[in-house]
Symmetry: C2
Subunit: 329 residues, 2 copies
């Protein structure tokens, strides 16, 4: 039995399940100051999403001599808000729910790619403003174009499958990917990321945010994009990011939208979130959503189920399946 | 050789091709009054899109004793702006370009379905208004849901294929469809349209506008929709129309949006176009585009190619392949 803090919310059914299994579940969000002051020290486990930042200081003040925290469960995928080395040296297990939100992000990404190519948000915005902008809103088709996927994990593979059904061909850069995985998915794997930018009019980001991927989409690479599809259609260049803010250099992207190098861009994630005074969100050829990639009822239910199961395993003395730092066991 | 009026625009390459073949091409839009006064009487053929209305009066005053018009070419699919019986009795051939815009409409429809399910336009609108509405914009996935296709021609079949790739199952009502076509496409064909509304949380319209289909989507049928997906998810009901205005009763749809019977609706086509003072376009859970289903560079190029080829065939004395009223030959 464990005492579990849930700081960024969790599916109700999962909370009930954990309580029925005999665990104590406390649903409460803490400020950065409260966390640093050891708010989590009386818990055995904490379940977070992206809002709670598990810094080295928070971890230090929640475990070892200072507390009893033994597990950080990330309800979702990205663990860039968790200091992993600090967790490992404090012998805190870090787990996530890697598969639960895959399809939700896949669908949002395809939605953003289509909204870019067909001016869907601009169409709606001009209608609401009393304009019938039919003539100005000629778009292009995804069919016949090359889609460049930066990173080729679960989500990118799902996006690739749907994009192929619409008639796109797939290119990827993923230095961690076995070549046969790309081949199985009819995706051309490149050794150089620049090659993907040189070939593809449509780029979608599906990697983690790390030092290596910070501002990986920059002015130089945006300028490499071809603007003309492999089918000869002058479709312009399109960028979609439903992965993590910070991978795309937003200042460079806005400049590229202004100069026309980029015809459209859609971001679900931003360098700073919430993003409220960001000039890019007001550009005509930009559209955005407020980090809702995993925000479907289905994904949140699956995340809750996976998280409840792994917490239960952990308190049963089993090694959770999705542990990120297995070396602590 | 013929004298051809192009009243709603046509792809440049197609115009050049026709001129090179020795035809005279006049690019000019005429008002309803000019058309009725016989503006087309000195032409052998007219190429229209949806803006030019070929009424019985226009046809009468352009052909027979009053003029030399012998062919109406519709650059696109829908021929609801052409009086077909009047054309036939005046021995005017009516042709369209049925396949050229299929994929463009397929992609817009999938884009609208995803934008509905994931609040893409609302996400962008709230961001631009300085709101970070992440918590209010939880959506649902298309995967696992039933898609009801009203009409199962080329476009619906393309939409069905893409929707299946995303994990939807397909249902259709199409009284003109051979059962084996639906079966080949893994789509369940129903004898009663009401059955499709009873089963499906997501409905997309893909039929022609006729007397029979006018206000086919009405208050009674919207109320039949289940609101809960076959996967148990309370996704609400969603309506997309990229076919023709008038098939959906807009007053009934707005009421259903207001009462929550319909969770979201997207229209590319409206009962009155341009639609500027239509209250539905301001509803939070509505989004629209200004009749841009076929508005892609690719589709307009293909339409131009098909139209140029069929005009050339016609002036060569051949029966055009896509003739709607072959009985005149």
């Amino acid at each position: 039995m464990g005492r579990i803090a849930v700081t960024d919310g969790m599916d109700e059914i999962a909370v009930k399940y954990l309580e029925e299994m005999g665990h104590e579940v406390v649903l409460q969000h803490y400020s950065a100051e409260e966390l640093a002051a050891g708010a989590l020290s009386t818990f055995d486990a904490v379940v977070i999403r992206s809002a709670t930042k598990m810094t080295g200081e928070v971890i230090h003040n929640s475990s070892g001599r200072n507390g009893q925290l033994k597990l950080i469960g990330r309800a979702g995928v990205g663990i860039d808000n968790i200091d992993l080395p600090a967790s490992t040296s404090s012998r805190i297990a870090v787990c996530n729910t890697p598969g639960a939100s895959t399809h939700a992000v896949v669908e949002l990404t395809i939605g953003h790619l289509l909204a870019c190519a067909r001016h869907i948000t601009t169409g709606d915005r001009t209608l609401r403003a009393g304009e019938w902008a039919k003539k100005q809103l000629r778009g292009t088709e995804l069919s016949g174009k090359r889609l460049g996927l930066i990173g080729f994990g679960r989500i990118a593979q799902g996006v690739g499958q749907a994009a192929r059904a619409l008639g796109m061909t797939l290119h990827t850069y993923d230095p961690y990917l076995p070549a046969e995985v790309a081949a199985d998915q009819h995706c051309q794997l490149h050794d150089e990321i620049d090659e993907v930018f040189r070939l593809c009019t449509h780029i979608s980001i599906h990697c983690n945010l790390t030092e290596e991927t910070h501002h990986l989409v920059n002015a130089k690479r945006l300028e490499m994009m071809p603007g003309i599809g492999i089918d000869g259609v002058p479709c312009g260049n399109h960028i979609v990011n439903c992965a993590r803010g910070g991978i795309v250099d937003e200042v460079a992207l806005l400049k590229a939208l202004e100069s026309g190098i980029i015809a459209s861009a859609a971001l679900d994630v931003f360098e700073k979130e919430p993003t409220l005074d960001n000039p890019i969100i007001h550009h005509r050829n930009f559209h955005g959503t407020p980090h809702i990639g995993a925000a479907t009822i289905e994904a949140q239910t699956r995340i809750g189920e996976e998280m409840a199961a792994l917490l239960n395993d952990f308190f049963d003395g089993k090694k959770p399946k999705s542990i990120i730092n297995p070396e602590i066991f």
